[in-house]
C-alpha cells in the first residue's frame, strides 16, 4: 500500500515562460534561456492543470477521471515529470493563488483512455540566437537589463 503525500503541493509558472496548447499539443518557450519544449503524452493535460492552479492531488484525481490508470500508476508517472518541470525552471513549487481556473484539455469521459506517460522534449537550437543576441536576457525586473557576465560575451 502506498503512502499518500503528507502535503498538498501547488506550482507556479516561471513568468519568463510562455506557452500555447493547440489540439492537445503544447509548446513552451523559455524567453530567458532560449530553450523551448514540447509536451508529449499526458504532459499537456498535466501542464494545463498546473497552470490553472490545481494542486498535485487535484491533478491525480483529474487524470484518474480521464485515463485508464490507477492513482499509484499516475503518481509514479507524474512525480518525475513534475521534478523535471522544476529542474527545467518551467515551474516552481508555490502557494495556491486561489481557486483553480477551468482547465482546458481532456475531460472526464464515459470510457477512460489509455494513459501515456508525460514527456518533456527539450530543444536548444535557439541558444545560438540567444548567444548572438543577448539582449533577450530578461528577468522579472523587466526588460532589458545588463547581465553580470556581459564582459565575457564581448
Amino acid at each position: 500500500m502506498r503512502s499518500r503525500r503528507a502535503t498538498i503541493q501547488h506550482y507556479v509558472t516561471n513568468p519568463q515562460v510562455i506557452h500555447e496548447t493547440i489540439d492537445g499539443e503544447t509548446i513552451i518557450i523559455d524567453l530567458a534561456t532560449g530553450t523551448y519544449f514540447s509536451l508529449q503524452g499526458a504532459a499537456p493535460a498535466i501542464w494545463n492543470a498546473l497552470v490553472a492552479g490545481e494542486s498535485d492531488e487535484q491533478l491525480v484525481a483529474r487524470l484518474q477521471s480521464v485515463y485508464a490508470a490507477d492513482a499509484a500508476e499516475l503518481q509514479d508517472a507524474i512525480s518525475p515529470f513534475l521534478e523535471e518541470l522544476v529542474r527545467s525552471q518551467l515551474m516552481a513549487p508555490g502557494e495556491a493563488a486561489g481557486p483553480a481556473a477551468p482547465v482546458p484539455g481532456p475531460t472526464e469521459t464515459a470510457e477512460r483512455v489509455a494513459f501515456v506517460a508525460p514527456k518533456l522534449e527539450r530543444y536548444e537550437d535557439m541558444q545560438d540566437i540567444i548567444l548572438l543576441d543577448p539582449v533577450h536576457k530578461v528577468d522579472s525586473q523587466g526588460w532589458p537589463h545588463a547581465a553580470p557576465a556581459a564582459a565575457e560575451l564581448t
Binding site: V138, A150, T154
Partner: protein, 350 residues
Amino acid sequence: MISPRSASLPGGPTTGVEELFDAAAAAEGIAEQRIMIGGLPIRLRFAGEAMRRRIGGSFSHLVSEEPGEGELIVDVWDSASTGVGAPPLLGAPVEGDGTGPIYYYEQDGVRALSRWSTLSVLDGGSGHAWFWTPDPAELLSWDWASPLRAILHWWLGRHGILQVHGGAVGGPDGGVLVVGRGGSGKSTTTLACLSSGLRYAGDDFVGIQVEPEPWVHSLYSSGKLEPHHLERFPSLISAVANPVRRKEEKAIVFAAEAAPGVPITGFPLRAVLVPKVVAAEPQSRVVPTSPVAALAALAPSTIFQLHPPQTDALARMSALVRQVPCFSLELGSDVTRIPETILALLEVQP
C-alpha cells in the same frame, strides 16, 4: 570604426538624432522613397544617396505614391558620406556580442536599439523614426538585406502586423508561409520559386496579420543564401549583390533585380509550410503536420529575433496556425521541382 557617443539627453530622448539627421540632410540633401506595407504608408528620407543606394533596393517592390493617413517617417543617414558625427547612445548597455555593445531604450513611446554599429529609434507617438550607421559600406549583410528591421517590427506591431521569421511565396489569390529555423530550407524553397509562376514575398522576414483574415505582407525583396548553396541557383550567381563579403555572411540577391515583376506586396495566407530536407526523391511533397509542429518551427526563432520579444507574439502565431492548414514540406533533391509542389498545394487549398 565610428561608434555612437554616450551622452546625456537633456530635452527628450530623441534629442540629438533629429539634429544630426537635419545636419546630414543639409549637407547632402534628401532623397525620398515612399513605400506601403499592409496599407501603412512609410516615407523613407535619406540624407544623400549613399544609404538609399544601399538599402532602398530591399523596398523597391513596395514603392507607392498612394496617400495614406498616419504616415511613418524614417530618417536615414550615415556618417561616412555626410560627414556628420555619430548620434548619442540611447538607453543602457545590455551586454554585447562579437559585433560590439548593445544598447536598448524604451520610455514614453520611444524605443531605441543600438547594435551592429547602427542606431534605430522610433518615436511611436509622433510616427517618426531614425536609422543611422557609420558607413554604408560596412553595413552587415543582415542589415543590408533586411534593413530597418527593428523600426518596422515596432511600428508594424503597433498596427497589428507581426514580423515573423519566415519566407513567403504565392500570388494575388493566396500563398504560403515558409517557416523554420536557419538552415531548414526556407531560402532554398522561396528562391527556387523566382522563375516558377509563383511570386516572391520574402525569404527570411515577412509581416503577418491574423485578422480579419490571415495575410502575408512582404517586407523585403531580398533573399540570402549560404555561398555553397549558390551552385543550386546558377541563374542567381550574377545577381549576387555582395560578391565580396565576410566569411560568416550570406550571399544577398534582390528579387526585384534578379526576377523583375516577381516580388509581390502580399497575399492571403493559404497554408504554412515547414520545410525539411529529405532528398530521397527528386520531387518534393507536402504532408499534413500539426499546428503545434508549425508553431514550433515558427515561434521560437521569431520571438528570439524580436526586440523586445512581444509577450503576445506566441498567441498571435498560435491563432495563425489554428486558422490555416499546416504541412511539412519534404524537399526533394531537385530544387527546380519545389515550385510545382507548392502550386499543386495552392490549387487545392481554398
